[in-house]
């Protein structure tokens, strides 16, 4: 992933690793191997910057609490996995396998939200401006028009039974784009490349829209950052 957010994250973790407390901890552990921990990326805009589409209160809770919990839990379970991998006893392998869904969920939550923050932008920074270039052409070829695409995307969002995400994805083999929904925090990996994702968990809209989720799905297009989406397309 060549996103600004994750570059920022790398810089931040480097800074943290250099901080006295971190090096002290590494020293105490008596090891020279220090894995880079996942960190909560800064938002590229203020919490209130996506209003009125998404309230500042939602953005703050969503980023500082929800996303941060995924980061913390992911780090915790990866550490447990590393410990479990030190042995190949039956118990250790059971533990490794039991950790897989937890890493999928929390690691997925971390990367989904990191990509989501980046594929949104305040209108003052280009949010809602229609795509241009290659992304515009593939959307028009596949869906007829941007409006027709949004309508299909919103139908997919509305059809999610429970918590999940809808993504515009690109097939890594054929290059074709499509709309896919993912349950819970299942990440877009493998055959598909994430281009644009919308969070359909209730925490993403409930404080502002309550059960009127169709209104949230309609409003979010005002703050979609199509430039970022375009950069993800190959």
């Amino acid at each position: 992933m060549n996103s600004t957010l994750l570059r920022t994250t790398a810089v931040r973790s480097a800074l943290r690793a250099a901080a006295p407390s971190a090096s002290k901890r590494a020293g105490l552990a008596g090891t020279t191997f220090v894995r880079g921990k996942a960190t909560l990326p800064d938002l590229p805009y203020d919490y209130g910057a996506l209003e009125p589409a998404i309230s500042g209160k939602i953005m703050e809770l969503h980023h500082k609490n929800h996303h941060n919990t995924y980061v913390t839990s992911y780090n915790n379970f990866i550490t447990q996995l590393e410990e479990a991998q030190a042995s190949s006893s039956i118990e250790a392998i059971q533990k490794q396998i039991a950790l897989k869904p937890l890493i999928n969920f929390h690691g997925g939550g971390h990367i989904n939200h990191s990509l989501f923050w980046e594929n949104l932008a305040p209108t003052s920074q280009g949010g809602g401006e229609p795509p241009t270039g290659k992304l515009a052409s593939v959307i028009n070829e596949s869906y007829g028009s941007l409006d027709a695409f949004k309508e299909k995307f919103n139908t997919a969002l509305a059809g999610i039974q429970g918590s999940g995400w809808a993504w515009l994805v690109q097939d890594v083999q054929t290059g074709a784009v499509g709309i896919r929904t993912y349950a819970n925090q299942d990440p877009v990996v493998g055959q598909f490349r994430p281009i644009l994702g919308i969070d359909a968990w209730e925490h993403a809209y409930y404080l502002q829209y309550q059960n009127r989720k169709a209104e949230y799905f309609k409003a979010i297009w005002d703050v979609v950052n199509w430039k970022t989406a375009e950069q993800r397309l190959k």
Binding site: N65, G162, S163, Q185, E202, Y206, N211
Partner: protein, 191 residues
């Protein structure tokens, strides 16, 4: 509670009735493809209706006599036999609820197979209902974010902690000593 009942639960019922109507037409015209394609919508919306109907009944105001464990002597006895004590049961139930990834429910279920009967903590995803053979739902806790978000925000552990104050043990006892048909009789009344 008002939104949850008036909007969410109502939406499941509205969508269920629409799906059942379409299904009746598809049955009438022997359109098997349509019948099969409706299954997911029926399961989801019927599940939402069943789960919420059972949920409202297994809650009670904290100050009421129904909200005391003493209203469920036989159930509490078997809980103690199964988990050791009530505290261990609550811990196990809480861990199950907090382990749900995404939307779902946690249930205390009585499972009856032949002459054998046991209690079990079960979690289900989205609106999947507890309707398996021999399964009697005793009480359920809604772990969708809409159930707690306006009050607890992301603090779902506090929601789970406080839900114990409003469990209707009288209803739970009735479902525990009764049959599967007894537990679901509210649904017959409401359709």
């Amino acid at each position: 509670m008002e939104l949850h009942h008036g909007k969410h639960h109502q939406t499941y019922i509205t969508n269920l009735n629409a799906a059942l109507k379409t299904q009746a037409e598809a049955v009438h015209t022997s359109d098997i493809t349509t019948q099969v394609s409706l299954q997911a919508a029926i399961k989801f919306n019927a599940g939402g209706h069943i789960n919420h109907s059972l949920f409202w009944q297994n809650l009670a105001p904290a100050s009421s006599a129904e909200a005391k464990g003493s209203a469920a002597p036989q159930l509490v006895k078997q809980i103690k036999e199964t988990w050791g004590d009530e505290e261990k049961f609550r811990e196990a139930f809480k861990a199950a609820l907090l382990g749900i990834q995404g939307s779902g429910w946690g249930w205390l279920v009585k499972v009856e197979i032949g002459n054998e009967q046991r209690l079990s903590i079960v979690t289900t995803k989205d609106q999947d209902p507890v309707v398996g053979k021999g399964e009697v739902p005793i009480f359920g806790v809604d772990m969708w974010e809409h159930a707690y978000y306006l009050q607890y925000l992301n603090g779902k552990a506090a929601y789970v902690e406080n839900i114990w104050n409003v469990i209707n043990w009288k209803t739970a006892e009735e479902r525990f000593v009764g049959t599967r048909a007894d537990a679901f009789k509210i649904l017959k009344a409401s359709i």
